[in-house]
Each structure stands twice: as structure tokens, then as C-alpha cells.
């Protein structure tokens, strides 16, 4: 296997791993103590996922799932009511964003302001890969040069005898 083939192989597996990572994530959420009763397990799961992604606006960096503040309790109740009423996740989010702004979302929406936030890490990964490839190629060339030098030295040794 040549170095180039291996590099290709590496790239493909890297991309595969990356996409697998993107696909297989679960968001762990903790839930707050409200005896909100669900009859539908799917709705309950959606509820828990949603409240873990919404910020308690008056707390210092807590989701409404993790806060005892009154506002958080009210918001949980509101989300609960909307889900029971059959609203979709997106409808709940749209409603809350319209009322409280993007600040309430722990997953910021992609727009002109957050473009860099979402894409910079990816851009850095790509730059890093180019950096790595550059260095490895450079070092590899040096290594080849040295082996050539050794061969040349061997030939020299044969021609004029070993040096001391």
C-alpha cells in the first residue's frame, strides 16, 4: 500500500467517523421536579429533550430543566401544555423564541451572526488536516532523502572503503 493510498484511506475513514459521530448523538437531559403526568412516552421524551435545551432566562447558566426558579417552573408548565396540546417541537421553539428571543435557545440558530460559531470548528478541522498532511509530507521527503544519502554512502563506501 502506498503512502497516497493510505492517506486516502485515512481521509475516508475520518469522514465516516465524523459523520457517524454527528448521527449518533443523544442529548442527555436532566429533568426538574414537577409531577407533570404524561400518558405518552414519546411526548415525555420530547418534553425532556426540549426543556434541556432551553435556558432559564433569570438563572446563571441553567436550563429550565435544571432550575428551581419560578420562571423555569412556569416555562416547563408552558412547554408541557403545548406538547400535550399536540404542538410540534418546532412550534414550541418558535413560540418561545418569539416571546423571549434567541437567548432562550441553548442550541443557537444558524444565521448571519452565528455563522462563525457553527462553521469555525469545522473549518479548523480541515485546516488542521492540511497542516498535518503538510508536515508529514515534508518529514517523509526528508526521510527519503536520508535513505538515498545512506545508499549513496554505501556506494561511496564500496568505492573508496569505509570511513572512520
Amino acid at each position: 500500500m502506498s503512502a497516497n493510498e493510505l492517506l486516502k484511506y485515512f481521509f475516508i475513514s475520518f469522514a465516516l467517523l465524523l459523520s457517524l459521530g454527528l448521527l449518533t448523538q443523544k442529548n442527555a437531559t436532566a429533568a426538574a421536579v414537577d409531577p407533570l403526568v404524561f400518558t405518552d412516552a414519546k411526548k415525555e421524551a420530547r418534553f425532556k429533550n426540549l426543556i434541556g435545551q432551553l435556558r432559564c432566562l433569570v438563572c446563571q447558566n441553567q436550563s429550565i430543566a435544571d432550575s428551581n426558579a419560578e420562571l423555569a417552573q412556569d416555562l416547563r408548565k408552558e412547554v408541557y401544555d403545548m406538547i400535550i396540546a399536540g404542538k410540534s417541537d418546532q412550534e414550541v421553539i418558535d413560540y418561545l423564541v418569539a416571546r423571549y428571543g434567541n437567548f432562550i435557545l441553548y442550541r443557537p440558530p444558524l444565521n448571519a451572526q452565528t455563522f462563525l460559531l457553527w462553521f469555525l470548528p469545522g473549518i479548523l478541522v480541515i485546516l488542521a488536516l492540511f497542516f498535518v498532511i503538510g508536515i508529514i509530507k515534508k518529514r517523509g521527503r526528508q526521510a527519503q532523502k536520508v535513505t538515498l544519502d545512506n545508499k549513496a554512502e554505501d556506494r561511496l563506501n564500496k568505492l573508496i572503503g569505509p570511513k572512520f
Binding site: 493510505l6 454527528l22 442527555a28 447558566n61 435544571d66 443557537p108
Partner: protein
Amino acid sequence: MIPEIGHFALILALCMALMQAVLPLIGAARGNIQWMQLARPLAHGQTFFLIVSFATLTYAFIINDFSVKYVATNSNSALPLGYRISAVWGGHEGSLLLWALIMGFWSSAVAIFSRKLPQITIAQVLGVMGLISIGFLLFMLLTSNPFDRLIPAAPDGRDLNPLLQDIGLILHPPMLYMGYVGFSVAFSFATAALLSGHLDAAWARWSRPWTTIAWLFLTLGISLGSWWAYYELGWGGWWFWDPVENSSFMPWLVGTALIHSLAVTEKRGTFKSWTVLLALLAFSLSLLGTFLVRSGVLTSVHAFATDPERGIFILAFLAIVIGGSLTLYAWRGPQIRSFGKFQLVSRESLLLINNVLLVVACAAVLIGTLYPLVLDALGLGKISVGPPYFSRVFVPIMIPLLFLMGIGPLMRWKKDDPVKLMRHLRLVLLFSFIIAVIFTWVATAELSLGVLFSITLAIWIVSSALLNLWKRIQLKNNLVTGIKTTPLAFYGMTLAHIGIAVLVIGVTFASAYSIEKDVRMDIGQSRDIGGYTFRFDGIEDYTGPNFQAKQGKIIITKSGKPVTTLRPQKRTYIVQSNPMTEAAINPGLFRDLYVAMGEPLDAGAWSIRIYYKPYVRWIWIGTIFMALGGALAVGDRRYRLAVKKKQVSLKNDENMEAGVS
């Protein structure tokens, strides 16, 4: 009178730091031996005065001297003695004093354990450390003096934040600071190397054990913080991607890269320039973390703008240290020559990828942490960046890293045969997958693709680490000799890598299979989760030393057999009066049962939070493995020999290590 002695000692420590920074550095520049020799005694002097200062503040806490403002703000006469002592670093001023004290300890440790270092190097290293001390001591004396008096004295104190009245938070800051400050040693060695222009591998060799010690403390510190958040905050979460957590995680990521890069620089003489940069970055990020936490910028950008004194100082200090060191690097860096040659398929390339991925992961965390601050400061609106963002961005970078972790240690330096390696690893990968299927099935009776994927990665790391160890031991014909001659550092690496795998298993199972229920419970009512039955037996009153509590009694059984009785509390602290949830946990190697009280409802019923958390303990066990691995690496023979001053020629050692591959 006593607090004034502490204040005075702090000023003297600053004087010592000033001399420690100026005299040895000038001495080194001019070749003045006498001035260079001052470095060690001055470092000890600084440490001595810091100990005096710290001791007087502790004394003020012990005797409840509420005429000291800091004591009045952070303590109370009803606070138990142990917490009064830990309250010394419970607030802003005191934690800075602890920072400075630990900086003193590290400086003295460098002075003591570097006897074999050339005079000029030790002068430069301690000089740079002195410069850093100056920054922190000035900061304290100008903006955050813990010895400020309160006139008239308060009749009693405002008490320590109840959240901090806990063993986890007693130990968390010292551990964390040991890590933060410990990176200053590598930073100073790197800076000294840049100053002197001696950018050979020697500085890497000297900084390696120091960096590993700092890293292991930082690992433990972060882990303690996570453990504390788990049981004390009452939400059962162990990592929140909170900016404060991120501040300690960023130096950890770069520090981890640094440990690996130092190994390459020491053993192969390559990556030299990159290692210097990482050493500068690791400590710079520690300072950035301190800035983020201590300036109040995280609470609100506007709070920072209205009371900017502290923030501006740290920002300026940050700019001087980071800007200065990077300028020095830009100036001297190009002179660094690395000689090692390696090919695509070699351990060097894998370690390079490891380094780059860790740094990019750190950059991603940095972007997520700073982005909302920058946006807000520019008046472009307020956004929140939380766990959904970080898991989207961070996890995909970690996955290739974990995968390569299984290959890296098995690979030879310089050049390896890809075909042979691939044949070898295919089997290991298949084996890991089979074990992962069995393990996941036994542990959870479920098989989901995502879980299987990360468990396979974890088993892959463990099996290739053990395979690698086995191969190393088999280098010798005799098993016993093999086990004996394998360097401790090798065992350390194996253990630390297994620690990561254990952590991955814990994170995966705990995230995917935790069961969390918030339920209304009447007295005598039962709930079943995760195969356990929780019965609520009512509430009793409980009186603590400085709090009142409602204590619930929950009896847990499994198929009729008693498991345990948990007594979670809802506490009201007398002074600060905000209600606190004290969860009760039945820990286990394979699952935690976690109960926390919510609110009282009608007719004696309560809302109660019941969690079943499988494998959650593996998260912290993994970090303990990592720290132990670090400890083994530091305990390696070659470092002990260096301390014993036995002359081991560098050459012999390198030959020995060349056999490691």
C-alpha cells in the same frame, strides 16, 4: 493586628517576587553568577511569606474575626470548623491567595528538585515564575485584598455559600489550582529556552515530569468538580458545558496534547517548535480561565463594564503574558530546528494528529465559550451556547481521536509497515466489536447503534493498550523479567488510556440509559424504575449545625428484597436562608440510585426526583485511572535516578527507550 501581619507578609512576598523576577534574569543575561544564585533563596522566601499570609487568613477564619471583611462575607460563627478553614478559599480574594500560595509551592519545588539544572536555566525558569507571581500578587494587593478591614466589625458573618459547604468543593479548588499553576512550570521552562536560545530537547526532558504532575492534578480537579455537581446540585448531571467548567477543560485539552508532544520532543528530538507553543498555550489558557472566572465577565459582560477594575487588570496581565510569550516565540521560534524524520505510517504522525485534534477540540470549546460574550460585547444580541452545541461540535472531533488512541501506542517510531499493522489491527477491531456487543447486551439488555459504536471504541482502546503492554513484556524471554523491566511510565500510559476508555463507557451508558422520573409521591406510595421499587415513607425534621432540614425517607427494594434506605434533605440554611437540595445516593459500580426532594404538595405528599443512573461512577473511576497513570509515569525510574543524582548518561537512557517502540 494579626490580619495586618498577613497583609504585610503579602507585600513582602511581592517584594521577594520582584527580586526573584528581576535579579536572576539580569544575572543570566549578564553572566553574573551571584545574581543567578539568588533565584532559589528568593523563591523560598516568597513561599515563606505566602505561607505566613495564608496562615493568618486561616487564623482569622478560625477565631471568627469578623472585622476582616472577607471573613465576614464568607463565614459565620455557626459554621463548622472544617468549613471555616475551607472557606479561606471560598471567595474571590482567598482563592487568589491560594493561587499565589500554590505558585509559591511550585516555585520552591522547582528550586529544590532541579539541582542538576545548569545555574543559568534555573535562574531563568525561576525568574519567569517570579514574573507570573508579581502579576497575581499585585492583582491581589491592588484590587482584591483579603485582609481589608470592616469598620465597625460585623456582629456575625454572612456565611459561606451553602453549595460550598461540602467535601467536594473543599478539595476542588486546590486540585484545580495545582493543575493551572503547575502548567506555569512548563511555560517557564519553554520561555527560558526561548530566552537563552538553547532550544534542544533538554528543556522537554526537564519539564516532562512537572507537566505530568500538573496534568494529573488538573484531571483530578476537574473530576472532583464534576462529581460535586452530580451529587450537590441535585440534578444528577455531571457535565454542563458551563463556561466555568470549560475554563478548566481548555487547559486540560492542551495540557494533554503537551504531555504527548513533550514525549516526542524528548525521545525523538522532533516537534520541538510545536511543543514550545503548546507549553505557552497551556498556561495561557489557565490564565484565560482565571480571567473568565474571576473578572465577572461570565455573569454579565455589562457587570464587567460597570466595575472594570479587576477585569481590566487581569485582561492587561493576560495580554502581557500571552502577548509577550507569543512575541518571544515569533522572534526565537524560527531558530528551532527539528531533526527527526518520520513517515506517514509512524507513531510520530499519529501523535501529531492527536495533538492537532486536541488543539482543535480546545479551539471549539473556546469558540463556544467566548462567542456569546463577544457578540454581546459588540452589541449584536444575546445568544446562549449550551450542551447541544458542544456535543455537536466536540464529540465528532473526539471520535477519531479515540480511534487513533488504539493505534498510536502500537505503532513504531519513524516508520511502520502499514499492511502488517492493518492485518494485526483488523483482528483487534473485530474482537473489540464482539466484546462490545456482549458487554452492552449484558449491561443494558438493549443494542443501539450509537451505544455499540462508542462501547466498541472503548473496548478497542483497552484491548490495544493491553496488547501493547503484552508485547512490551514479551520483549524479554522471561515473563517476570519482562514485567520488571517494563518502565513504570509504560504502565502509566496503559493505565491512563484505559482510564479514558472507562470514562467513555461511563459517559455512554449514563447518557443513554439513565432513567429520570419526577413524580408526586404520597406517603406509603411506591414507584418502580430500573427494576427497583422506591417507597416514600414520609418526612421528618432534621437539625444540622447551621441548617434546618426536611428529611425524606425512601425505602428501596429490588424484587421484594431490601436494598437501602435513602434520606434526601431539603435544607434551609439559617443565615443565607435559600433552600438547598441535598440528594441521597446509593452508589454502586454498575448503577447509582439517586433521590432528591422537590416541593411539598398537598396532604403530606411531595414531588420527588428519582434517578436510576447506570455506570455513572465509571466516569470518575476513569479519571482516577488517568491520574494514577500520570502518577506512575512521574514515578518512573529515570526521574527517581535523576533525583538521586546518579549519573545516567542521556545517551544510555535514549537507547533504553528506543527499545520501547
